[in-house]
């Protein structure tokens, strides 16, 4: 391994192609941390946005007029405004209104850090799309299947959890995957509030080493591979989950 790292140092000395995140241990750790933060942020947002989607779609089917209106208002508001402004709104506007807590060094720090706000904001953003996606899936489940479950004595929650959702999930998987891939790409916005994800760490490295070109190209390739792997995995999953004879 050290041999490979050293080779990149030689590469820099010989050709001027500077890739410090490969031969320099400090930069390497930064880059790995950034990569892991991107993955972590993506996973947290994936999880919560799917939860928001499921709950939102369930609330949209509720009998109360105002529940449906509020859910619709949420969807329209988050779909038609820039995610970056939402992020700023959450982080700066709402973040400053919250109480502060004392940190380990005796200073005052916000109750939620930038990572938490990025996770919250992006989850709500992707969740708004997920609600619509899940709703279209739930509508695709035939009424008679739900009636059959009712006749068998399932409760409303049980029907949603055990009958409607598993069927709807398979129907919406392509649209859902599309949205989740978009979400992973949107995590780069967290850069704007200094979450140390991949773009942020790359920026730090190119500020220190003045190797913008190499870092930029590496970053593009890294995201290309990351998203490409994700898309490939999602497509396999879609094939595995396909309902035989449908669509």
């Amino acid at each position: 391994m050290d041999l490979i790292f050293d080779w990149f140092r030689v590469l820099y000395q010989e050709t001027g192609i500077n890739l410090p995140f490969l031969y320099d241990e400090y930069d390497r750790n930064r880059m790995v941390d950034g990569f892991l933060t991107t993955i972590r942020l993506s996973l947290v947002c994936l999880f919560f946005s799917v939860i928001i989607g499921v709950i939102g779609a369930w609330l949209q089917g509720s009998g109360f007029k105002w529940t449906r209106r509020i859910v619709n208002g949420y969807i329209q508001l988050f779909r038609n405004t820039p995610p970056l402004v939402q992020l700023y709104f959450f982080y700066f506007a709402i973040g400053t209104l919250l109480p502060r807590v004392e940190n380990d060094w005796g200073g005052q720090s916000p109750i939620l850090g930038s990572f938490a706000w990025a996770a919250i904001s992006l989850s709500f953003f992707a969740g708004a799309f997920n609600v619509e996606i899940f709703r279209s899936g739930i509508e695709a489940v035939p009424r008679s299947t739900v009636e059959a479950a009712e006749a068998l004595g399932f409760s409303k929650l049980q029907i949603y959890r055990d009958i409607t959702l598993p069927l709807a999930f398979r129907v919406v998987l392509p649209a859902l995957n599309n949205n989740l891939v978009n979400l992973v790409k949107t995590t780069t916005l967290a850069y704007a509030i200094a979450v140390p994800e991949m773009l942020y760490e790359a920026n730090q490295i190119w500020s220190d080493n003045v190797n913008v070109t190499e870092m930029m190209i590496f970053l593009l390739l890294a995201y290309f591979v990351l998203v490409g792997v994700l898309v490939g995995a999602m497509n396999r999953w879609e094939r595995a989950m396909k309902i035989p004879g449908y669509g």
């Binding site: 007029k65 695709a140 773009l199 995201y223 898309v231």
Partner: protein, 278 residues
């Protein structure tokens, strides 16, 4: 898709419906949002003498912010125009009969589709020169122009996919019929296939425009003075009063909502109108 049956079969997926909206119409959002923005600021309104209320401060800055927003729209329209032209060519390249052209176009499309918008914007910002030396004539290459180029890259890739998808969605009978009428490939494409595609491409294209408009704020991160940058500067020059943050950012949210929401509604209506029955 109006097939009625009592059998327990899976129904076809319906398009995300244009939300029945149960009485809550587009213009209802406006007073609600205004309330949400200015409600909290009114709570601060009983302030000391000499300090303007958040609402008054916002009104002072609103003309400047609106100017910034118009700049955003200029960026979005230019990037869309550029991206559409290049993307359409790339999309046609994807259905070319020459394998090299097809493969190349496919790779370029996938590459720029998989990269995050912000990274592409950084890419354009830092790697393009700040001026071009053309035959001894120095043409300056300002930030906003680079932002337009950077934003048009993902637009190009997405338009390419839209074109390819639309062409592939036409039944192959169209091609065969044209061939039997002795049309050349170019004639078939230009006179028969593409006119039918325009209708199918319009809704996703408008959707893309809406996404692009919302992405123009990314330019603030790389220092173009559009609405988000101006908001930050306005807040700073007011001395960073915390009660101003919510109204100002809320105002920017509102600007984008007022612009993008009608586009979204119109897109849904077009989608319904052009939906193929059966």
């Amino acid at each position: 898709m109006n097939c009625k049956t009592d059998l327990p079969v899976m129904l076809p997926v319906s398009k995300p419906e244009p939300e029945p909206f149960c009485g809550l119409r587009a213009w209802h959002i406006l007073p609600l949002a205004l309330l949400a923005i200015f409600g909290p600021s009114l709570a601060f309104a009983q302030s000391d003498e000499g300090v303007l209320s958040p609402l008054a401060v916002l009104m002072n800055w609103a003309p400047l912010l609106l100017k910034g927003f118009i700049f955003n729209l200029v960026i979005s329209v230019s990037a869309m125009a550029l991206g559409t032209v290049v993307g359409a060519m790339l999309g046609l390249g994807q259905i070319s009969l020459i394998p090299a052209v097809r493969g190349g176009s496919w790779f370029v499309t996938q590459f720029f589709r998989n990269a995050p918008w912000l990274v592409l914007l950084f890419f354009a910002m830092f790697l393009l020169p700040f001026e071009i030396d053309l035959f001894g004539l120095k043409i300056p290459f300002p930030d906003w122009l680079k932002a337009i180029l950077g934003l048009s890259l993902p637009v190009m890739a997405n338009v390419s996919e839209i074109v390819r998808g639309a062409v592939n969605s036409l039944p192959s009978g169209q091609w065969e019929a044209a061939e039997s009428l002795a049309y050349t490939r170019l004639q078939t494409l230009w006179l028969i296939i593409l006119p039918q595609c325009v209708k199918r491409m319009l809704p996703p294209w408008m959707n893309l425009y809406s996404i692009l408009t919302m992405a123009t704020v990314l330019a603030s991160i790389v220092g173009v003075s559009e609405v988000m940058t101006l908001t930050g500067q306005a807040l700073a020059s007011e001395g960073g009063r915390p009660e101003l943050l919510a109204p100002f950012y809320g105002f920017v949210l509102l600007l984008f909502f007022v612009y993008c929401y009608p586009i979204a509604r119109f897109t849904v209506r077009l989608e319904k109108k052009f939906a193929v029955i059966g």
